[in-house]
């Protein structure tokens, strides 16, 4: 499996950040960057990184299954993550999530047929001070209301 020269360069640099013999520590960032390029954590991608880091495919699978940011299936162009943990829930996170479900016509961990949006109800994303918080791809949005969510999503159609 081959990656873009930019990604290869990024991988090469990443591996220097870990002490000798502990390169496997780079697995999580490698998976994340590769997912951005490939579109999903495919079986080929897992096998490739397993080979590069001298771990078993099963060990890669353990990591992929653990982190909610890693996906085995392609996400929408914009991946909408809405927190419904306690702080967000108290400030309307659950309503926000229900609203998003209706608006996008999809549920938890689903992707629109058009491939534009995918939706996920997530646990705490560390933005409790500005609850309810959502994440659109890597961008955080704070104190989101249903109106604000509509505006954000329409801007991304």
């Amino acid at each position: 499996m081959t990656f873009s020269p930019e990604l290869e360069a990024r991988f090469a640099d990443l591996l220097t950040h870990y002490p000798p013999g502990r390169q496997r520590g780079a697995l999580v960032p490698m998976l994340m960057y590769a997912q951005d390029e490939v579109g999903a954590v495919t079986p080929e991608l897992m096998a490739e990184l397993a080979k590069r880091l001298d771990v078993s495919v099963l060990q890669v699978d353990e990591v992929v299954g653990y982190y909610s940011m890693l996906h085995k299936k392609p996400q929408g162009k914009t991946h909408v993550q809405i927190c419904t943990n306690v702080a967000c829930m108290l400030r309307g996170g659950a309503e926000l999530y229900d609203h998003a479900c209706k608006k996008l016509g999809i549920g938890h961990k689903q992707t629109q047929a058009s491939g534009v949006f995918s939706l996920e109800e997530v646990e705490c994303i560390g933005a409790c001070s500005w609850a309810p918080a959502i994440q659109l791809n890597y961008t955080f949005h704070h104190e989101v209301t249903t109106d604000k969510l509509d505006q954000l999503l329409e801007g991304l159609q």
């Binding site: 078993s56 099963l58 060990q59 699978d61 353990e62 909610s68």
Partner: protein
Amino acid sequence: MSNMVKLTINETAVEAPAGTLLIDAAKLAGIEIPAFCYYEGMSLQAACRMCLVEIEKAPKLMAACVVPVAEGMIVRTESPAVVKARKTTLEFLLTNHPLDCPVCDKGGECELQDMVFKYGAGESRFTEVKQHVPEKQWSPVVFYDGPRCILCYRCVRVCNEGMGVGALGIVNRGVAAEIAPSHGDHLECDECGSCIDICPVGALTSGAYRYKTRPWEMEHVGTICTHCSNGCKTTLGVRNNEIVRGNNRDRSGVNGEFLCVKGRYAFDFNHHPERLQTPLLRVNGKLEEVSWSRALQAVVEKFKAGGKAGVVGSTRIANEEAYLLQKFARTVLKTNNIDHHRSGDVVTLLDSLSGKTATLGTADDCYNAKAVLIVGADLSQQQPFLANQIRANHRHHKAGIYVATPGAVREDKIAKASARTADGNWLPAVESMAEKLKGEKELLVLFGDSVKGEGVRKLVAFGESLGIPVKYICLVDYANSRGAMDMGLLPDLGPGYHAVEGAPGLTLPQMMAATDLDLLWVVGANPLARHTLASSKAFVVVQDLFLTETAQRADVVLPAASAYEKNGTVTNVCGQVQRLKRGVETVGAKTDLNIIGLIARGMGVNLGKVDADAVFAEIQKTVRGYNVPLPVIVTGGAAQTMPVNGRVPSTVLPELIQSSRDTLFTTGTLTRYSKILNEVMEAPGGLYR
């Protein structure tokens, strides 16, 4: 001792070496701290929260499995706070755990059941519907029932660390977390079943045993596995005269709880439909079922008639049977034409070590030696228990592992140095490691059949040249390969490696090639699988469990009992004598000892009292090295035979020594009749490394 730490557990003063984990210190003092994830010998997990204890001055309950003892520590393991915490932990563990104990294989010997029984989590505050996922089958022997799993990681660790296979992992998180096999939907592994054995609940179940019985309805019979030479204790679970399970949860043998696929599952040959139950006699060219008396009469007549006789013994019959067989051959048939399938050059090793002491390695040495050198053997395939000992030695003691083998082996991963040998020429590979080996404090050398004859002497000379204490283990193939040699199933050596009276007899290939052989008596062996019998006039008597290639040529076939159907002793690859204990009764077969005794009686000769204990008493008296303490054996222990210390006057060509190169999934005739071994996709071995 200065490095002892004093502490108080449950108002009792306890002393433990510094660095001891609290859970172990409590155990030393006879106080049980319950735990699911903690497992002696494995890495620490601290996942299950069952071992929480109260430590004075600590702000909250601590996990005893990861807290080392400290001076003056005051610990309470059953205080109200602790008991409440455990009860809550159990309530959590039971949120999705199905309460299907009445049909669960584990019911009755389940650690979760025991804990709930003790601490009680009789009520649950959860009103949600239990999460359920269907059961999965990962291989013919391994099934996984996710909802029962408590995610203690024991199976993951035993596979990774214990077996060095790493076929199990945990995928997903939270309530969706579950154990996953190496290849998506199935396992490719040793199929050893250690994961099932170690599972504290009924999440991992065995294809051979599941839904067959309740644990308390079995009799448990500790005997020795009849497959490879490692001599693992396997405790047979017997129900209605059928073996339904093999394990060693009580850690009673040399092997602790270790068993490979053969020890754990390959008892099923015993109930194979093709087991011989009736004697067969060749009448008008065809083998016909006859009565024992008629078959024995035919044998007696031929034996009395005399002529040139050859006797082939077995590598899996008991010591008593091997001893009596050679005694019969030498005193009644008056021949030294007696041999067996030899798979390791123990004879030359004993001779080369003549005059030296403490030079024969044991299974314990595999675990304790500071360094181990493996020459020409794929241990994890051929000697699974010794390989396990060596892996544990590396894991616990950081032993230096050195490998000189023809192909890649599992031990390469943990080796300080690995070298490949070509064309059986192992010496350059071994010599290339000499400098490194000289830096070790001591060395244990295990060698396979490529080292034989002069090779053994060269290896011993190499060991001498290192200037460190060196011990040796000569690897052999089968359950009683070592015993067969010790008992004198050899044309030139009698019991205890004494030179025979008179001229040495014919070797196995010579017997096969002799055109004038009148009589061939084969006990528990299948020489015609590899050789052809040149003498067309030979009257062939075969004692075996199955109608092997040799039995098909026989004139009389006498159905023999398996090792699981007899009492006696066997000697493992390291020279440890252990007791076979009868687990099931035979239907029509008789033990080889019994058969030999009946033939002797028919001929009117007196071989002394023919029962296993009496013959063993004779062996103790007459066979060099076998004067071992009887109580050790009788109580199910392993007694080390004394090494023969003196020259061994062998005349036999080492070329005859040939290992079968078995894998984890094969050992000669018996495993051909094991349904389970033939079902696993890894069979016959070598599918993966």
